[in-house]
Amino acid sequence: MKKLKITIDGKTIEVPENATVLDAAKTAGIAVPTLCHHPKLTPFGGCRLCIVEIKGIPRPVTSCTTPVSDGMEVTTSTEQLENLRKTVLELILSDHPNDCMVCEKAGDCTLQELAYSYGIRENRFAGERRIYEKKDGNPFLERDMEKCILCGRCVKICDEVQGVGAIDFTYRGFKSKICPPYEKDLDCEFCGQCVAVCPTGALTGKQWALKGRQRGVREVDTVCSYCGTGCNITLHVKDNTVTRVTSKEDTWNEGWLCIKGRFGYTFINSPDRLTKPLIRIKDRSSSLNSSNGLDDIFREASWEEAFDHIASRLSDIKTKHGSDAIGGLSSARCTNEENYIFQKLMRAGVGTNNVDHCARL
């Protein structure tokens, strides 16, 4: 791709011709504040924080939406620009609950961070605030629309990445709001992608509530065990308990997760979870009444004992009834490699082609 030369804050750099001014600033190592911008989504240009001055253009323009052109001269910070950014932030905060003390997002909130770095305490524009009733019936997403700054990231990710389009902008003026059609309760696939991109505390996970914010939380990078896709996830662990699952943007799955990976983590610390192999101790063939197995009794066993048991039973059946009396069904929760080994076991070990996978059903 063709490279263009542009000057930002006196630094001359080369950037690809399809870059935006914000991309160029990033390349030059210059931080420009943003709220509505997300590198994986189409530019929005709504928060107005990333405004810059460009020589030859009479008014400030948003760097996130403006394509670079050859020889462009950009200034990212002037007294007037900082002044406008401060006004914009004050306006946002004038319509915000400002309850960082009890907010789930505190410490990880872009709005809070910006308010901190611009030192906003008094607000010249204090006034009416939007008040909404919460009505989410779902167990996953907490939507506190009073904290919503209408950056549109959730709308875009739902549309552009997830392809669902469950929410959009509604109403006009100060009453503008992001919600499902006709303000009905949210009824989507609850992937939580919107939660992942929300820069404020407007969208959080219901399961996260009161489980701890940043302090004492350890992040553990691992791979999601739900399916063969193998998304990289980060477990937030506090007191040896998983309190939240996120995914980093620089992973191969680009930080995107589905409902299971993001919210289906409570099994990890569930008391019902199996931690040792169990062997059925009641012989099912001896009782005609117990065909559903619900009355069966299990006993704990070691892995060695369990594997020995499986191997000896399979050998018995194979000897007695032949290989094709045995069939294997593997799981989508296993990796591709595990599934490969499993079919190998069935074909080469047991000697049957009776092998299938739950994802095919």
């Binding site: 530019p43 929005f44 240009g45 709504g46 928060c47 107005r48 405004i51 008014r59 400030p60 323009v61 948003t62 939406t65 403006t66 394509p67 007037q80 002044n83 406008l84 006004t87 914009v88 306006l91 946002i92 004038s94 319509d95 010249r124 524009f125 006034g127 009416e128 700054i149 209408l150 549109g152 959009d168 902008f169 109403y171 006009r172 003026g173 100060f174 009453k175 503008s176």
Partner: protein, 591 residues
């Protein structure tokens, strides 16, 4: 008995509201009833015409005989019989119903280009337009001109966008022509939303074919095969006439495949707007046509490069397009002979407010405001004095009485902090409070903000809150400075034209009427218009004790015996002003 009689009844929205339909029906039924000889009836044609400007005098009826045109004003159905008997049959016009001097003065200084056929031809009859040299411009370019030549004429004519921003039309066309693309679009922006503006509506209602022909010429110039008219659903009559006009143009071969046998295809679709003011902004308009929420996006890229469905698109306003056939027919020299050095041609204004002759006017650019107000408009109503003129509606600013010699063109108006805008012109008199007026426009822009960008969505709300407290008498010291600061920041930081201009009424009224703001901070509304700041009392010497105010008071604050002076209890009074409005004896005072 006269021969060859034409009766024209004004049937713009204004004419229809005043009873134009009933007047036309009365003519039709009475002519039949009166047993007027058949051969005479054959000679006599009756039809409706579009708005002819002077809405204040509606219903206007023209009776055109061989030798003269008689114009009647304020016609009601019951007056029709006498016009038929005395004028049409008898040959003597009913002189006392003829238009007065005002009507002629109203038209004297006007120059009609866009409106030249409005009010003269039947907008629902394509043959009427063709008979008035309609579609001759299209025929001319198809017969002998290359697209580049058409663009050249537009550039030389100096025509600039009439929607408000004043961008040179020829330059816009040229930019779009140069972009290589398989598909291009022409869009007519008929999403006229400024309060008090009705230019585009009148043009489409009065002469829809001029707009269609303008679009066809534009399409030919840039190489577009599809066009859209984005028009507000609140303009049902304009939509209906446009639909009929498009169908008729298609039937006559001016739209569709192989137009005029020259192998050029172009057709037009109508897209109804759902009443959002912001959809007049071109990128929001495009989003709306595409089925998205009408929200603007940042420019560049401009629509001429990436417009509708990502294809190069030219968006022109109704009035701009309606100028085009006339420029092609009469030449760019003719067009640019009107106007100032940088603002050529004419401009249509909707003259409303406290003006005697309210209505639709078309004047050469460069005419002074004084000429518009006093010569064309006939001065202020009810002998009151002029205070200011608001141009450009909610995006514009006010012009004060000591600036009446200002010329109406893009540059002069911008210099004083106002804009030509789409052409709304609201006249304010001594009873109008400038703070209240600015608040009204701000209410409009705030509720019409799309909500996308912070300065417009929250900033205008905060401006409005400050304006609200000032007009309630609860303003604080420093509020004026805060208004100025916030207004300037909103202008600088907003995404689209709506937010960038929304604070204009506030800034311009502070600039020219700062003392009114200061008076409000002192608890006084000088124009006595901000009701919540007033106290009402009965002036005993004028009060006849009729009880009208007592009955009108919704709060039960007025007491008194019949034929004796009444009293208003200030602690109960809700300051609604109902007593003031209802009193015939001027016995209710307000302070």
């Amino acid at each position: 008995m006269n021969k060859n009689i034409t009766i024209q009844v004004c049937m713009g929205t204004g004419g229809m509201a005043a009873g134009g339909f009933e007047v036309l029906a009365a003519f039709e039924s009475l002519m039949r009833e009166k047993n007027i000889p058949a051969e005479f009836r054959k000679e006599c044609s009756m039809h409706k015409v579009g708005c002819r400007g002077l809405c204040a005098k509606d219903v206007l009826v023209d009776v055109i005989t061989d030798d003269r045109r008689t114009i009647y004003q304020y016609i009601k159905p019951e007056m029709v019989e006498r016009i038929i008997d005395e004028h049409i049959v008898g040959g003597a016009p009913v002189s006392e119903w003829e238009v007065d001097e005002d009507y002629h003065k109203f038209h004297e200084k006007q120059v009609k280009v866009v409106l030249s056929d409005c009010g003269n031809i039947d907008p629902e009859d394509i043959n009427a337009y063709i008979a008035s040299d309609g579609y001759k411009a299209a025929e001319k370019i198809f017969a002998s001109m290359a697209p580049e030549e058409v663009i050249d004429i537009m550039k030389k004519s100096g025509l600039r966008g009439r929607g408000g921003a004043g961008f040179p039309t020829g330059v816009k066309w040229e930019a779009c022509r140069k972009v290589e693309a398989g598909q291009k679009y022409v869009i007519c922006n008929a999403d006229e939303g400024d309060p008090g503006a009705f230019m585009d509506r009148a043009v489409i209602e009065g002469n829809p074919h001029a707009v269609i022909e303008g679009m066809l010429i534009g399409a030919y110039a840039i190489g577009a095969s599809k066009g859209y008219v984005y028009i507000r659903a609140e303009y049902p009559l304009a939509v209906e006439r446009l639909k009929k006009a498009i169908a008729a143009a298609r039937e006559c071969g001016f739209l569709g495949k192989n137009i005029l046998g020259k192998g050029f295809d172009f057709d037009i679709k109508i897209k109804l707007g759902a009443g959002a003011f912001v959809c007049g902004e071109e990128t929001a308009l495009i989003a709306s046509i595409e089925g998205q929420r009408g929200m603007p996006r940042a420019k560049p890229p401009f629509p001429v490069h990436r417009g509708l469905w990502g294809k190069p698109t030219v968006i022109n306003n109704v009035e701009t397009l309606a100028n085009i056939p006339y420029i092609i027919k009469k030449g760019h020299e003719w067009f640019s002979s009107y106007g100032t050095e940088k603002s050529k041609g004419t401009k249509v204004f909707a003259l409303t407010g406290k003006i005697k002759n309210s209505g639709l006017i078309e004047v050469p650019m460069g005419i002074t405001l004084k000429e518009i107000i006093y010569d064309i408009g006939g001065g202020i109503e009810n002998g009151k004095s002029l205070k200011a003129v608001q141009t450009g509606g909610p995006s514009g600013g006010c012009i004060t009485t000591d600036m009446l010699d200002i010329t109406m063109d893009y540059e002069s108006l911008a210099k004083v902090g106002s804009i030509v805008g789409s052409g709304g012109m609201i006249v304010l008199d001594e009873d109008d409070c400038m703070v209240n007026m600015a608040k009204y426009f701000l209410q409009f822009t705030q509720s019409e903000s799309c909500g996308k960008c912070v300065p417009c969505r929250i900033g205008t709300k905060r401006l409005l809150e400050i304006m609200n407290r000032i007009t309630k008498g609860a303003g604080k010291q420093g509020d004026i400075e805060l208004l100025e600061k916030l207004s300037n920041d909103i202008k600088a930081a907003s995404l689209c034209g709506l937010g960038q201009t929304a604070p204009n009424p506030v800034l311009s009224t502070i600039k020219y009427f700062r003392e009114e703001y200061e008076a409000h901070l002192q608890g006084k509304c000088p124009a006595k218009a901000c009701r919540e700041m007033l106290t009402y009392h009965i002036i005993e010497e004028f009060c006849k004790g009729c009880g009208a105010c007592l009955r009108a008071c919704p709060a039960g604050a007025i007491t008194g015996e019949k034929k004796k002076p009444h009293k208003i209890a200030p602690e109960i009074c809700i300051r609604c002003g109902a007593c003031f409005d209802v009193c015939k004896f001027k016995a209710v005072g307000k302070e």
